[in-house]
């Protein structure tokens, strides 16, 4: 292969690195009204009265909107395929506020200063209610987060509004009680994972205007342009045909921008005033009033025989979805779906529990999407089991992990590819496991190693669909039209690599266009690690179709059969040495009557979601005096099928690992007793800096996924999952105590050490 497998630089790399004006805010019209939101100071309150008269009177204020001025139809902001499984539990503005940060009013003014002044002049009379803040107390709490009766679910997701249950889920295969009873060894533990901020560097932002035909155009930093159009249509009671959504370059997403947080506010201002409007969230608003990872409590029971075969896995989970239920049922189910099938010698598995409402920041999608939480709990329990059995944890995994060709007990589907066994072996050698496991005491400090494995998916089986079009232009170049979003992952580049590979051409002949709902082929969006795999297959098919058409067209010109024509990417050769260049064919396809511009168009959806795998190994050093954990070395060996672009895959992996390291060691979400988020800036919410991460090393053990483009699977999310359990394992090996609550702050480690 000429391009697939090569470290091609990103097609937009130089422009974005050197600060060209390509992002949402750079493109907003200079005369756009500035939109600001008044956020609730209370975790739960009813708005008795709201007085906007003074604010509206300020010169330069274009409009002030409250719950009285917006449509009354409930919706979800979750960027999911219709009909969304997330509950329709939102209004644009409501007379009930459900968390500190919930929206109370929308202000638009000629500039930021005026908008800010107007915000301060709105008078709200609140009846303050008792909030539900502790998610373990939410079910059956006397305070009900969603008392409204018009809340709607598209499916039976086990929603129980009056008991604060957003979703209920249960999967049980085999007889879990009997298998646990028959096990020689049973380990049991309850684990907690915290909410985590996506903390992409470009905060939420969008702008909108009416075009020449009076249609609403919304330009947004989003991962889900097509879903945003649908959300806007429903929430604003506008036909979708009147709306166009464009996404420019995106300054990071990590799942946060799979929820349409701000678009509606700009759009409603444009509809009410007829003027362009833009909204840019500050960092503090991004922390307090958008969404985060779901915090979870996971109780795990593992049963095994003395030889180390895991026979039963039982996970009871409780997930905190906060004030609204975006992604509540799906993040919940993914936590089980992507962690239990790893250990396929089990005869019984069970995953069950609830996602509950509380009066806190809503949870949403974040890289790993529940699998991160599930992996942390199950892997920690497997390491605990290894201790109990006295078996090396690498060895225990080798005995139990699912292998290619096996049918997984959870989904009853065959696994197409896996090199996880090789990943474990290689990682073990690279970290020097035999020399370092479990610990080396250096006196004041102790060093230790730990490990974990994980799986994710590639797209959503049976649901995700992407389409792609490749056109042969009049000059012999190609245009690749996509509906997916490159958030910095380099997906535009790798999709162009795939098209170029099929068409045997070079990168510079492919023009990539993505995404504009007026122009782009439909794509569910860039989430669920779907772009390389699902959109990638659509691109391969579309490019293949175009290639065929090119050959057929050349054969017609040569009066030959298509089978007699060969194509090397630039020249078509027929019988008796007849040739025509692609450029000439392209030109002739657009001149004169009876011609037709050649294009390939394909859609792809997959009945399976093949898992990529990672084996992660951590080496830590702990200061016995302070409990501070220093990460010395982190090794991840990854099976993402064929590596389409090694440079981009490596960076994806390094970045995801560091986010996982942040979850493990630093990122600590704190609320005060009234339910206000205290960690609302980078002062208080600590994402890793370059000093905090030690050395992170990434390696690949390729497999070949038969259902993927050129054998590829996904890589985006899976890399997020192993750091937390591997680091907890290393800490346990260092200090002899298990920590069960993230992050591993020095206080927690010290307390565990001296207990």
């Amino acid at each position: 292969m000429k391009l697939v497998g090569k470290g091609v630089p990103k097609i937009d790399g130089l422009a974005i690195a050197t600060g060209k004006p390509l992002y949402t805010e750079d493109l907003a019209p200079a005369n756009a009204l500035v939109v600001k939101i008044l956020h609730s100071p209370h975790a739960s309150a009813r708005i008795k009265a709201i007085d906007t008269a003074v604010a509206e009177g300020v010169e330069g204020v274009a409009c002030v909107l409250t719950h009285k001025d917006v449509p009354k139809v409930r919706f979800t902001l979750a960027g999911q395929t219709y009909p969304e499984p997330s509950p329709y539990d939102r209004l644009i503005l409501e007379d009930l506020v459900r968390y500190v940060g919930d929206e109370v009013a929308i202000v638009a003014a000629v500039d930021e200063r005026t908008a800010q002044r107007a915000l301060e002049l709105i008078k709200v009379d609140y009846e303050v209610l008792t909030p539900v803040l502790d998610f373990e107390q939410a079910i059956g709490h006397p305070s009900v987060v969603h008392p409204e009766t018009d809340l709607h679910c598209n499916f039976d997701i086990g929603h129980d509004r009056l008991r604060n249950i957003a979703a209920t889920h249960k999967v049980e295969v085999g007889d879990i009680a009997a298998e646990l009873a028959a096990s020689d060894v049973v380990v049991e533990e309850t684990y907690y994972t915290q909410a985590q901020a996506q903390a992409m560097m470009e905060t939420y932002r969008a702008f909108s205007y009416l075009d020449h035909a009076g249609r609403l155009v919304v330009v947004s930093s989003t991962q889900i342009p097509f879903h945003v159009r649908r959300h806007l249509a429903r929430a604003l009671e506008l036909p979708a045909s009147r709306i166009r959504v464009i996404k420019p370059r995106i300054g990071g997403g990590f799942g946060g921008k799979q929820t349409a947080v701000v678009e509606i506010f700009a759009a409603i201002v444009t509809l009410r005033t007829g003027r362009p409007a833009k909204i840019v969230y500050e960092r503090k608003e991004t922390f307090t009033a958008t969404n985060s990872r779901h915090a979870m409590r996971l109780k795990v029971r593992l049963g095994a025989d003395r030889g180390g075969l895991i026979r039963a896995i039982d996970v009871q989970c409780l997930s905190d979805t906060g004030a609204y239920g975006e992604h509540a049922p799906t993040v919940f189910s993914v936590a089980g779906e992507k962690s239990l099938p790893l250990y396929n010698k089990a005869r019984a598995v069970r995953y069950a529990g609830h996602a509950v409402y509380t009066n806190k920041l809503p949870a949403g999608a974040m890289r790993g999407y529940g699998a991160t939480q599930g992996c942390f709990a199950v892997e920690s329990a497997v390491n605990k089991l290894a201790d109990a059995l006295g078996i090396d944890p690498c060895e225990l995994r080798r005995k139990n992990i699912i292998r290619a060709g096996e049918i997984d007990i959870y989904h009853n589907r065959i696994l197409g590819s896996s090199s996880l066994d090789r990943c474990i072996e290689r990682g073990r050698e690279l970290i020097g496991w035999l020399d370092k496991y479990p610990r080396r005491d250096l006196g004041g400090k102790v060093r230790a190693v730990g490990m974990a494995v994980t799986m994710q998916g590639s797209g959503i089986a049976g649901i995700d669909t992407a389409s792609a079009e490749v056109r042969l232009n009049d000059d012999g170049n190609y245009t690749l039209l996509l509906g997916s979003t490159d958030m910095g992952t380099g997906s535009d580049t790798i999709l162009a690599q795939m098209a170029a590979e099929v068409l045997e051409t070079s990168m510079d002949t492919i023009i990539v266009h993505a995404a504009d709902t007026d122009v782009s082929p439909f794509d569910t969006g860039s989430y669920a690690s779907s772009t390389a795999y699902v959109t990638g297959m659509a691109v391969v098919k579309a490019a293949g179709e175009l290639r065929e058409k090119i050959i057929v067209a050349a054969a017609a010109l040569m009066n030959a059969a298509p089978a007699e024509v060969t194509f090397d990417g630039s020249i078509l050769t027929g019988p008796a040495g007849a040739t025509i260049t692609l450029a000439e064919l392209a030109q002739r396809s657009v001149v004169g009557p009876d011609r037709r511009q050649l294009s390939g168009y394909a859609s792809h959806g997959s009945p399976v979601s093949p898992p990529p795998f990672v084996a992660g190994f951590a080496e830590v050093e702990i200061d016995k005096e302070t409990g501070k954990v220093e990460l010395l070395d982190y090794i991840a060996v990854i099976d993402c099928g064929t590596v389409v672009n090694p440079n981009l895959a490596r960076i994806q992996a390094e970045g995801g690992l560091v986010q996982g390291i942040g979850l493990a060691l630093y990122e600590d979400v704190k609320y005060d007793e009234r339910g206000a988020l205290q960690t609302n800036s980078f002062m208080t919410y600590k994402i890793p800096s370059r000093k905090d991460i030690g050395t992170v090393r990434v390696f690949f053990e390729e497999s070949y996924e038969p259902t993927g483009p050129f054998g590829a699977k996904s890589i985006g999310e899976v890399v997020n999952n192993t750091p937390a359990p591997a680091i907890v394992h290393a800490v346990r090996n260092a200090i002899g105590a298990w920590l069960t609550r993230l992050p591993l702050t020095p206080e927690k480690v010290y307390a565990a050490m001296v207990k």
């Binding site: 470009e202 980078f682 370059r690």
Partner: protein, 150 residues
């Protein structure tokens, strides 16, 4: 109030409010490379040079810039691109949103430190956060850049 500043070698007179921040002034004056990732001087995205020293433009009052010399990435385009090529070759820009501020700090570091160790490089760049890349690729690019140029 009026301030007279030199931006990327050009003397300019700007009208600014007393409490206006340099990041906003520069963006309003058309320097779109200025990005903001926080409002608390933690992220380094807004880094420009003031009189040759890397400085957070989100925490600098424009009024105080009267008579000073400001450099944005647009003003060192050639050198910035030379480093950006190495960064892009590593994949060390992902979303790219942090890159302009990061590059301004790297170029300043190159002027300031002779033959820095990995630790010295990491220390110098600590104020520049990146949520995408995990930093390792950026370090690889910086090391190549220093070798190439020294």
């Amino acid at each position: 109030m009026k301030i007279e500043v030199t931006i990327n070698g050009q003397k300019t007179v700007l009208e600014v409010a007393a409490d206006e921040l340099l990041a906003d002034t520069l963006r309003a004056a058309g320097f779109a490379s200025i990005r903001r990732g926080c409002d608390t001087t933690n992220c380094g995205l807004c880094t420009v040079w003031i009189d040759g020293k890397p400085t957070l433009s989100c925490a600098t009052l424009s009024a105080r810039m009267d008579g000073h010399d400001i450099t944005t990435i647009e003003g060192v385009a050639g050198e910035a691109e030379a480093f950006a090529r190495l960064l892009v070759a590593e994949g060390g820009e992902q979303c790219g949103f942090c890159s302009p501020g990061f590059i301004m700090t790297v170029l300043a570091m190159k002027r300031e430190l002779a033959d820095p160790t990995d630790e010295a490089i990491t220390h110098y760049l600590t104020g520049n956060l990146c949520r995408c890349t995990g930093y390792m690729g950026q370090l690889r690019a910086v090391k190549k850049f220093l070798e190439v140029r020294s």
